[in-house]
Symmetry: C2
Subunit: 404 residues, 2 copies
């Protein structure tokens, strides 16, 4: 619906402007993909949630489950033509055949940015700055970029002899967000870990003196140099989601203003395109949860001052005044003032109601009396005030109104 779209486009344009400010380029990928390129990437669970079907030519087709796989395909096919490092953003719909819930739909927008082709930690720091800028400029005040390092977590797990069970252990550690420490420890014990209590305490209490913290320290130092306000950053050794995919620094962003899960998540990965080509592209990227951002901003009241596209409605008083209204409308358009014409000479009340419903702030009335005096009557819808303005001063009046 138009009012919803206006909000969505406002947010999208803000985000795009920020990405462009940091030199990220936009790409788009096809929605119809050969199923074999999508399926199998996310295991059985992922396959079940992917929309796939046969097309008329008998080819198996799938709709993208996320933007990472289509991006990997594009890079694999075109890397020789891309500048490296390659910084891209991509805002497109993806599909998941799951039960819809709050902030989670079957068809929704994802909003990804990635830097590939550089292993420098400056990439991670830049992403932290991009994240901070996006959240600040969207009006968030209370948000935290939680940061962890897969390498560090690996070291800790190794010390506690976790070995082959790392993926399962990481999945359990991730539950610390939601359930009690004691329950997590029990689950790890059940899995057969020797000292689950010590492992969890090491992470929770950040007893990390024995471990190599150079990566995480260097990241925080670069962030500071790049002007990432430290109050938005938080080192969290328990951050574990997606850590079977990520290989270095990882991020999750939470806000008290949006108490329904991470608003943004990502990290450093190796080998983006391994499934599609032999080249080895390491990268770092995050995905913004666009639908959740919209929900959060709605709850924060960020859309209260939304305005309609058109600033002026030119009414038609009666049949004889059509020509005059057309002339006024035409002159507004030539002056680049967003405006519209009511298409019929109907009761003014009905024309005003249209302006009101659409949220058009100014209405111009021009009947035989106004025409005779070379004037228009200009009504400000918000205050209900009306003033007469010489027709030849209308443009400059409205232009100055919108410049100030």
């Amino acid at each position: 619906m138009p009012k919803e779209m206006a909000k969505r486009e406002l947010v999208m344009n803000k985000i795009k402007t920020i990405f462009a400010r940091f030199g990220y380029d936009s790409i788009e990928t096809p929605i119809i993909c050969p199923a074999e390129t999508i399926l199998g990437k996310y295991g059985e669970e992922g396959d079940k949630l992917t929309y796939s079907f046969d097309d008329n030519g008998g080819r198996r087709i799938a709709l993208p489950y996320d933007l990472t796989v289509p991006f990997a395909r594009l890079v694999a096919a075109n890397w020789q033509d891309l500048p490296m490092p390659f910084k891209r953003y991509q805002i497109q719909r993806v599909w998941r055949a799951e039960k819809p819930q709050k902030g989670r739909l079957r068809e929704f927008y994802q909003c990804d940015i990635d830097i590939i082709g550089s292993k420098s930690l400056l990439c991670e720091a830049e992403l932290a700055k991009v994240i901070m800028t996006v959240f600040k400029e969207l009006g968030f005040k209370q948000f935290k970029i939680k940061v962890n390092s897969r390498r560090l977590l690996n070291d800790v797990l190794t010390k506690f002899g976790v070995g082959e069970k790392a993926v399962e252990v990481i999945r359990i550690i991730d539950k610390l967000k939601k359930i009690e420490e004691a329950a997590v420890i029990d689950m790890l014990e059940e899995l057969g870990l020797n000292s689950p209590k010590e492992l969890i305490e090491t992470l929770v209490q950040e007893r990390l003196g024995d471990f190599d913290l150079s990566e995480i320290n260097q990241f925080f130092e670069y962030c500071e140099k790049l002007g990432v306000d430290q109050k938005y950053l938080e080192f969290d050794p328990c951050l574990a989601r997606g850590l079977d995919y990520y290989t270095g620094i990882s991020f999750e962003v939470y806000s008290d203003e949006a108490p329904f899960g991470a608003l943004c998540a990502g990290g450093r990965y190796d080998d983006l395109c391994g499934l599609f080509c032999k080249e080895d592209f390491s990268g770092v990227g995050v995905a913004f949860g666009f639908e959740r951002l919209m929900l959060a901003m709605e709850e924060m009241g960020q859309f209260k001052e939304m305005q309609s596209n058109s600033k002026v409605l030119v009414t038609i008083f009666d049949k004889d005044s059509i020509d005059n209204s057309l002339k006024i409308y035409s002159s507004l358009l030539e002056a680049g003032i967003n405006s519209e014409l009511y298409f019929q000479p109907e009761k003014l009340a009905k024309q005003f109601k249209y302006a009101d419903k659409k949220g058009v702030p100014f209405v111009i009335v021009c009947g035989p009396e106004e025409i005779a005096r070379g004037e228009v009557a200009l009504k400000l819808m918000k205050s209900g005030k009306q003033k007469n303005i010489p027709t030849n001063q209308l443009i400059s009046y409205l232009s100055s109104y919108y410049e100030n």
Copy 2:
């Protein structure tokens, strides 16, 4: 790919800005639709060209074949909340399972605008003005908005006793664009028409004195009042495509600069939502062929001066100068100057090559000598010229460069 996307976004943003200037609102509709709402609208041919499939829940799903049907569904479900008349635009992908050819793809963007809920001919005139504005502002010089009236064509067909065969006759008349008059006459004769020669001559030679031309004349008069330059308008009584759907004025736009068919087409229709609700919404709308517009503009050389998102690349001279480069990059970002950082201290030649490949116009170099002098070396990539600028004057230099 980024360079292609930059062009597409430039054109989309121009078009959106024009639509907004005329007070049209943006809407978007889902891509996953119940098949029964899509199939059957365009006959067997249409069904064959529609992507449809079963989802995991056994529901038959179809991807939109055009934007009209999803729009009709949205209006049918929400008309009580919409301002009426309702002016919307919609730019989205649609899918057709057909053999791709030049300017015709399986997955492509459509770009529709419609006014519904008003029968005033002022709507048609406004659309003509929107069309003119779009083509002019996209850089087209040679284009014609061809206009016909279904009512008039009906009158002519009735006079020649066409009766029930109207749809077939209209389809044959449409071939006048491509094949010779004599061949068209033969085809009409084969169909059993009594005086096909006279019918075609009446249309081609515009022998329309006996017919009611009030609709078409009123349209041209409104266009003139609205400032639609008459040189772009052309009355064409033979214009027939889609006239079994349209009920009043219809449009097709051609340009000598794009000799591959209509770039835009549409017209007045009755009863948009008949399939979905009882309300009767008459409307008028046109669809711009986005992919064809892009092709035409490419051939016209409209994209020669495309610039990259980032205006400045901050290089890193060596490990010791990282902090200084970060500071400069950070200050550019704070000043809102689109810029980026090279993430590693590598050979300058490689960093310059990156800027060149991406089309970044300025490169900043700042090694130990420049740092010592409190300067940066600024290279203009286009001319190859380089100048030293005090670091504290860099922002104002670059800002003034982009303001002028």
